[in-house]
Amino acid sequence: MDENGAAMRLLGGVEIGLRAGLGAVFVYSGWVKAGNPARFAGEIAAYHLTSQGVATGLALALIGLEWVCGVALWTRWGYRGAVGVLLGLMGVFLGALITAWARGLSLDCGCFGGAVGSVGANYGMWIGRDLLIAAGLGAIGWRAWRGARREGGGVDGMHAD
């Protein structure tokens, strides 16, 4: 068996696993928040970075983005765009968590609508988890970008491959 081919198949398998896992994380996260968007908006407002109105708008927007981008990871429809959006979101989440930590706020991260990890402020765990998710997104984004370059000049449609 060609060793290079086996390695590529292994990488492909890892990528599929990452896409499925990360897609599930974002779809689940959006689903939980959609059950009580007002509470999620309250958790955003508790960061004291936005007004209540902006927090409510952000809550709805994040629910929509997490659902749509999570499904995009599963289906590969709009795949590279979804990875880009989600990486941007992770950057925003990390920034908000770090500033909240620096300001000594005691809050729920709101990451899963209070359903997971909601007992007290555990910034180290939340930041570590977000970094892991961002690393996973970075890995599949890098493979998609490399694939598009290899095909010569990028993909101009909604399908990444």
Binding site: A34, P37, A38, G42, A61, S106, M158
Partner: protein, 164 residues
């Protein structure tokens, strides 16, 4: 260009989804700022004060009977009737009759415990429950005490932070 186009399409679909969720939950969403009580403190601060705190439960008798912060005294303006969760825009303040006789009796008990010197921390059901704000404002106005505070996140936030 391909990625930007993908992002534009995804954001458009996400906006439609967000609008759908917003319409579905339109009665619960809050777009205006809750009237913030300047004396709001986090659970960690109240915990650090330890036994010096006089806890005041503003949630009404039924919620008080179900569970409360250890040693809390009841002090509510209108008994039960205010729900927790985000306020609906047209049903916020003044919709319920005040029970002034009950208030006076409960306030005397709080005054006895506080002795004019201990910090008084009022809590409602959760972040959205503005009964605590109302009770704290009234308590400060009627007694002149400077050390009246509201527990941020209310009873739910206290329990999430470890309770007691």
């Amino acid at each position: 260009m391909g990625v930007l186009r993908q992002i534009a399409v995804l954001v458009s679909i996400a906006t439609a989804v967000a609008a759908g969720v917003g319409v579905w939950h339109r009665h619960e969403l809050v777009w205006r700022v809750r009237e913030a009580w300047a004396g709001e403190i986090p659970a960690a601060t109240a915990r650090a004060w330890g036994d010096a705190v006089v806890w005041v439960d503003a949630r009404g008798p039924a919620a008080f009977a179900r569970g409360r912060i250890e040693g809390a005294l009841p002090l509510d303006e209108a008994g039960d009737g205010r729900r927790s969760g985000p306020p609906r825009s047209k049903h916020i303040k003044g919709a319920l009759p005040l029970d002034d006789a009950g208030w006076e009796g409960q306030r005397r008990a709080v005054a006895l415990a506080a002795g004019g010197d201990r910090p008084v921390v009022v809590y409602g059901e959760d972040f959205w429950d503005d009964r605590a704000d109302a009770v704290a404002r009234r308590l400060r106005r009627e007694t002149g005490w400077g050390k009246v505070f509201v527990l941020r996140g209310g009873y739910a936030g206290w329990m999430k932070a470890g309770g007691r």
